[in-house]
């Protein structure tokens, strides 16, 4: 399906129009926009009756610039060669920003921007996403703009810049690496762009929703007694960037919303609660940097939200005197974002809505789904709005894997874990790239990331698959919590092992784009806890092998014959055997 037939053409009256989903151009609207069109239809046909004066369920008003406009832009500005060029991302972005927007559509953009003064999200909606085989989570840029400048021309420029940046991200290194890992031809990729109202309210210089959420109908990271098919929801205060970037957020199973995540103690909980939140910067313009995705975003401490009066719905308070956590913010004390007012006391029936949306979406699409949403509460009318931002399929293999007895530790066992993401078997890998345990220094994670990227590039060019083993949280934005690689830097890895150390004992991240891409390519992800006796990495066996490439921090070894990677997704256990 290239585009649903009932989407009207943009009519130059964005907010005044009765249509909340329109298109500019006549090409494909891309996968993300098709997902939104699906949800729009679902809301209108099956969920509309749930709406009331106190509650609105909708997709934020949007218009999609179809892929034919992207084609025109590329062709008329002679940019097609950039896709295979050696230029760096910022140089590609520069070339795109210099290009002239197709004249047929600039008037539409000017008219659109003249009629709105609230923040806009400029989001990618690529053609290959349409295949529903690869979600491309976080591969392309999304740019939010405050759109509150008094001058229409300035707002127009910011909008056009953001669209060109999203287009340029189609040719960025990470996107090209991602596409190479699929069966698609990179030359076939085209980009539609969604211009969408940001769900939220303004609080001083910040604009953000009360709650952002990501819900999945299937949970690869189980905890407690929850079943994988019961799904998982991640919630955060502010923009959803906190969740999709793998930041600290609150996770719960929709089947048991009141069960807390597996933090052993209140101290653990205090240390693992959301402490920062993202918003659109409505204040003093930042340094001009049109290529920076987060140019107009700001990250503030949780304490800054106290004055915004947005914590009441999402926070609890630690009472030191009783060493207990009290739902709400009536008392003073450290805040914990466990969303108890919503999940425990159902001040808004969020979980019911999420369950219903997941159920209906899964029923219609036929595969497990992941969805992003945002919730606002009008500070004056108290009306609640759930804005639906995105839906995409989740992929996993259903093959039933029988593991050997993990308790019978053998010298042939290279890695054993009782907490593995994914499902299936791999039998063709002879190379292992690992971070040296003895010399590991967490202050050097940036250097390690660089070494990994370089080795990955060498192996990818020779089409050599490998297993990656390292310490801390892979893909973390915080270099002190793990090795801050982006997905393209480890794109050749067929299995990934994350180990904890006493000095780097980090909880797994859930819901990040990084992990989503790993699972979409069905890359098994082993978590090995140093303090768990039944989890281990056979470092001795690794160190005995002769390295074929080595740096201060990394070793790359080639085994005599391939290893077997086995993961049982139902039990969450896995093993890598070298026989």
């Amino acid at each position: 399906m290239s585009r649903p037939g009932n989407i009207p053409t943009f009519n130059r009256e964005f907010f005044e129009s009765s249509e909340n989903f329109t298109t500019i151009g006549e090409g494909n609207i891309g996968g993300k926009a098709q997902g939104l069109a699906f949800i729009k239809n679902l809301i209108e046909v099956e969920l509309g009756h749930d709406q009331s004066d106190d509650f609105i369920l909708d997709i934020p008003r949007l218009t999609v610039i179809a892929t034919d406009v992207f084609d025109m832009f590329i062709e008329r500005n002679n940019l097609v060669d950039l896709r295979t060029s050696k230029l760096q991302d910022y140089q590609i972005a520069h070339e795109f920003l210099q290009g002239q927007f197709p004249v047929e559509f600039v008037g539409d953009l000017m008219a659109l921007i003249s009629s709105i003064h609230t923040p806009l999200a400029i989001r990618s909606s690529s053609l290959l996403e349409d295949s529903l085989q690869h979600p491309f989570a976080g591969v392309y840029n999304t740019k939010m703009i405050p759109n509150n400048q008094p001058d229409t021309t300035t707002r127009f420029h910011k909008l056009v810049e953001a669209i060109k940046l999203v287009w340029a991200s189609t040719y960025f290194a990470e996107a090209q690496a991602y596409i190479r890992n699929t069966t698609a031809d990179p030359a076939e990729e085209k980009m539609a762009v969604i211009i969408q109202e940001v769900v939220g309210f303004r609080h001083g210089d910040r604009f953000y929703p009360n709650i952002s959420g990501v819900a999945r109908s299937y949970n690869y990271y189980r905890f407690g007694d929850n079943k994988p098919e019961e799904g998982i929801v991640n919630l955060a205060l502010g923009l959803g960037k906190t969740i999709v970037d793998g930041g600290v957020c609150w996770s719960y199973c929709p089947a048991a919303p009141q069960t807390s995540t597996p933090f052993g103690t209140i101290k653990d909980l205090l240390q693992n609660t959301q402490l920062k939140f993202w918003s659109v910067n409505m204040g003093k313009p930042p340094e001009y940097d049109p290529i920076k995705e987060a140019e107009y975003l700001r990250e503030d401490d949780l304490s800054d939200s106290e004055g915004d009066q947005t914590l009441a719905l999402v926070a609890s308070t630690y009472d030191a005197a009783s060493d207990r956590i009290q739902p709400g913010i009536q008392m003073k004390g450290p805040r914990i974002l466990n969303f108890a007012p919503v999940l425990t006391y159902e001040s808004i029936p969020l979980n019911n809505w999420v369950k219903k949306l997941i159920h209906k979406s899964r029923e219609h699409i036929g595969v497990d789904v992941e969805m992003e949403f945002a919730i606002t509460v009008d500070p004056i009318s108290r009306r609640v709005r759930l804005g639906f931002l995105q839906i995409r399929p989740m992929l996993y293999t259903d093959e039933k894997i029988n593991l050997p007895q993990l308790d019978d530790v053998s010298a042939k066992h290279l890695v054993v874990s009782n907490n593995v993401l994914g499902n299936g078997r791999i039998k063709n890998v002879r190379h292992i790239m690992y971070v040296k345990k003895d010399s590991f220094d967490k202050s050097k994670t940036l250097h390690i990331a660089k070494d990994i990227a370089d080795l990955n590039e060498i192996l990818r060019n020779r089409i050599i698959p490998y297993i990656l083993i390292g310490f801390g949280r892979w893909g973390s934005n915080d270099r002190w919590l793990g090795i801050p690689v982006v997905w393209s830097q480890i794109s050749g890895a067929q299995a990934i092992v994350e180990c904890t150390l006493p000095e780097m004992n980090i909880e797994l991240s859930q819901g990040s784009h990084f992990f989503h891409n790993l699972t979409s390519f069905q890359v098994p992800y082993f978590s090995v806890r140093h303090h768990k006796n039944d989890d281990f990495v056979n470092w001795e066996l690794l160190d005995q092998q002769t390295s074929i490439l080595e740096t201060d921090n990394m070793r790359l070894i080639q085994l005599d014959h391939p290893v077997s990677v086995l993961v049982d997704g139902r039990s969450g256990k896995g093993i890598i055997i070298y026989e």
Binding site: P102, V103, A111
Partner: protein, 428 residues
């Protein structure tokens, strides 16, 4: 056969009188608006390349500047007459008012044939024109621009002369300058694109998909070429273009029923928009009579050459298939032909509106030049589109509300605005 010699100014006055009567304007307003407020006639002596001296006649007519400084092009044409310049100045007044930009209407010209002039002789005429009129034009009073057979280079010579005489830098004195020398990006495309913006809106009103339409174009100069470009980009198909052949001193129509190739034809076109007849033939184009363009079995006719092309005689040649005539040129349709077009229910987008993209972009250039701060092309064209679309919709709404034709609606809008400005200034 035409019954009398065509006089553009008489035609412009005739148009105005009819509108004035419809609007029941008072006598003072009529007298003020049916004639230019000022006009200048002067001689430009030039030493020719062969050493002899030749005196060229130059004009500047300022029809009305109640809404702002005068604005209008300078034409170099061997058949130029003061009446043509008067008519064009009056139309400029209406045109700037139709698109609601704060300018008045002027026009200028020199009787000469640039085809037969060397570059040095052209420069001498250009500088001579400025020397004769520099006291009466300028960025705050009357701003010239390119027109028939004048170009950015000529504008730059004129600017240079003006700045020399006035001892300063006045980039806002003239528009249509080369980009990088005070010109605006998008100026070259503006008139042609503007024609298509209005056609696009008209087709939208008529619920016709532009991709299902064909067009025939008279002219292959700047306006026509960019109109064809954007029309093609939107999915339309131009099957015929007509233009003047300097060598044969007659016009030809070049036709390809499956669609002309703009790039191919521009590659064999001289700087005045004349297509090389022999090369066109080699490329597989039918080379037909100059009037054939109007007979074509197409949906849209775009006269984008000179005035007085759709007459009482030629209008009869228009195919029944034609739904829209968009006047890319100034005054291409005579009042008599206009009546026949109305009777045939062909939707006519009048010149005042259809080709106002040029003056709108000239206004943008003037604003940029006065600020000495220049916009990027996306911004220029976006503003052009929104301005033209807004003007189209306002004229079209008036036409629908009053059940009148587009030309009348455009005239009424323009004359109302100008008359009101004159009244508010206390002139009448």
């Amino acid at each position: 056969m035409q019954t009398k010699t065509y006089n553009a100014f008489e035609m412009a006055q005739e148009q105005f009188d009819r509108i004035a009567e419809m609007m029941q304007l008072n006598e003072g307003t009529i007298q003020l608006l049916r004639n230019p407020m000022r006009e200048y006639h002067f001689s430009i002596p030039v030493r020719m390349d062969d050493g002899h001296y030749k005196v060229f006649r130059g004009f500047r007519v300022q029809h009305n500047d109640a809404r702002g400084p005068g604005k209008g092009g300078i034409r170099f044409h061997p058949l130029e007459t003061i009446d043509t310049v008067r008519a064009l100045a009056m139309w400029m007044t209406w045109k700037t008012a139709v698109v609601d930009i704060p300018l008045g209407g002027s026009k200028g010209g020199v009787i000469c044939d640039p085809h037969n002039l060397s570059e040095r002789e052209l420069e001498s005429i250009s500088r001579g024109w400025v020397r004769q009129i520099s006291q009466n034009v300028g960025p705050l009073s009357d701003i010239p621009a390119p027109d028939v057979m004048t170009n950015p280079q000529i504008m730059l010579w004129m600017l240079d002369e003006f700045e020399t005489l006035n001892r300063g830098k006045y980039p806002g004195f003239i528009t249509g300058k080369p980009v990088g020398m005070g010109g605006s990006l998008g100026r070259t495309e503006a008139t042609g694109y503007g024609v298509i913006f209005t056609i696009r809106e008209a087709l939208r009103e008529m619920s016709i998909n532009i991709k299902d339409t064909t067009a025939s174009v008279q002219g292959f100069g700047n306006v026509a070429q960019f109109a064809i470009q954007l029309y093609n980009q939107l999915g339309g198909n131009v099957t015929a273009v007509a233009c003047w052949n300097q060598k044969d001193q007659k016009a030809y129509t070049y036709r390809k029923t499956d669609g002309i190739d703009l790039k191919e034809l521009s590659g064999i076109t001289d700087r005045f928009g004349g297509i090389d007849k022999d090369k066109a033939h080699e490329l597989g184009y039918e080379v037909l009579d100059g009037n054939q363009w109007i007979k074509e079995n197409v949906d849209i006719l775009i006269p984008a050459a000179l005035e007085n092309q759709i007459t009482e005689d030629t209008v009869k040649l228009i195919s029944k298939k034609v739904k829209i005539i968009a006047e890319g040129a100034n005054g291409p349709t005579t009042p008599a032909a206009d009546e026949i077009i109305k009777a045939q229910n062909i939707y006519l987008i009048p010149d005042l509106l259809a080709n106002s993209g040029g003056v709108t972009c000239s206004y943008f250039e003037q604003v940029q030049s006065n600020l000495n701060y220049y916009w990027d092309k996306d911004e220029v064209l976006a503003k052009l589109d929104t301005k033209m679309t807004a003007a189209y919709r306002s004229i079209s709404n008036l036409a629908h509300r009053k059940d009148i034709k587009m030309r009348d609606a455009a005239f009424i809008t323009a004359v109302t605005r100008v008359a009101q400005a004159c009244q508010e200034r206390g002139w009448i």
